[in-house]
Symmetry: C2
Subunit: 148 residues, 2 copies
């Protein structure tokens, strides 16, 4: 098989395996929350003035899905919405105090995953890190170019 195709195929498999392995741990640790809800909280914490459209783009989901998810998170008192006086159309989201707590727990869990996998990174040189970072960066930059 083509070397490039092999690389991308294994990369996809790796990501699937990690997701598949972490998902039940995340959902049982953050009981009562779906993985997607948790990840949406993460995005809202990260993106300033997050609205449905931005969250959809960042989550690789449709606006309809985000619209429903945010409603659920508001009902659970994890997030709240607000608007700017100058724009009656766009609706933004931010975390509530409880939402921030969940966010911190989630980050802690991710640290524990890294700890679980620390031996994978142990023997990596700075150069090797850079090589992979450059590859990812180049690919993402390329995708950005061809989609706009």
């Amino acid at each position: 098989m083509d070397k490039r195709q092999q690389l991308m195929s294994e990369l996809m498999d790796l990501c699937n395996e990690i997701t598949w392995l972490n998902k039940p741990e995340l959902e049982s640790a953050l009981n009562g929350f779906t993985l997607n809800e948790i990840e949406l909280i993460e995005k809202i914490a990260l993106i300033p003035n997050a609205n449905v459209t931005k969250l959809a783009a960042a989550s690789y989901m449709t606006r309809g899905a985000i619209s429903k998810l945010t409603k659920k998170l508001i009902a659970k008192n994890m997030i709240e919405n607000y608007q700017h006086a100058t724009n009656k159309k766009e609706i933004y989201f931010r975390l509530t105090t409880i939402g921030q707590k969940i966010h911190h727990v989630h980050q802690e869990l991710h640290r524990s995953f890294l700890d679980r996998d620390k031996e994978v990174f142990k023997h990596m040189t700075a150069d090797e890190f850079d090589t992979i970072f450059r590859f990812i960066g180049r690919y993402r930059h390329h995708l950005k170019n061809i989609t706009e």
Copy 2:
């Protein structure tokens, strides 16, 4: 942010972006087929004596989902099932002639995606390829270790 966490986060994003970009192209080129159906055909082509359980493990889906998907693919005459005389429980799948055609078209599409993205790989040295391959291999090996 931690360098390792950053790396994994960007890696996940990259995979999501690629999937998100390729999906509509695949589904419109292979009209009448879901992405998951196409990928299942791929797995059946790859795995010798593929059955529901093996396909579920390879696809990161439940056996229930695979059971339904294979039924659909049989209805569409893409695959057929068979059994071994020595085992009345396990049911295996293989591609029909039409299924093989779809499989080839799918492979061709993947080649076209690589061509679209060729500039990402153009300036990569063999060493850089190896570095990334080693990283993926090490990670997957680690995951295999801790899950059994």
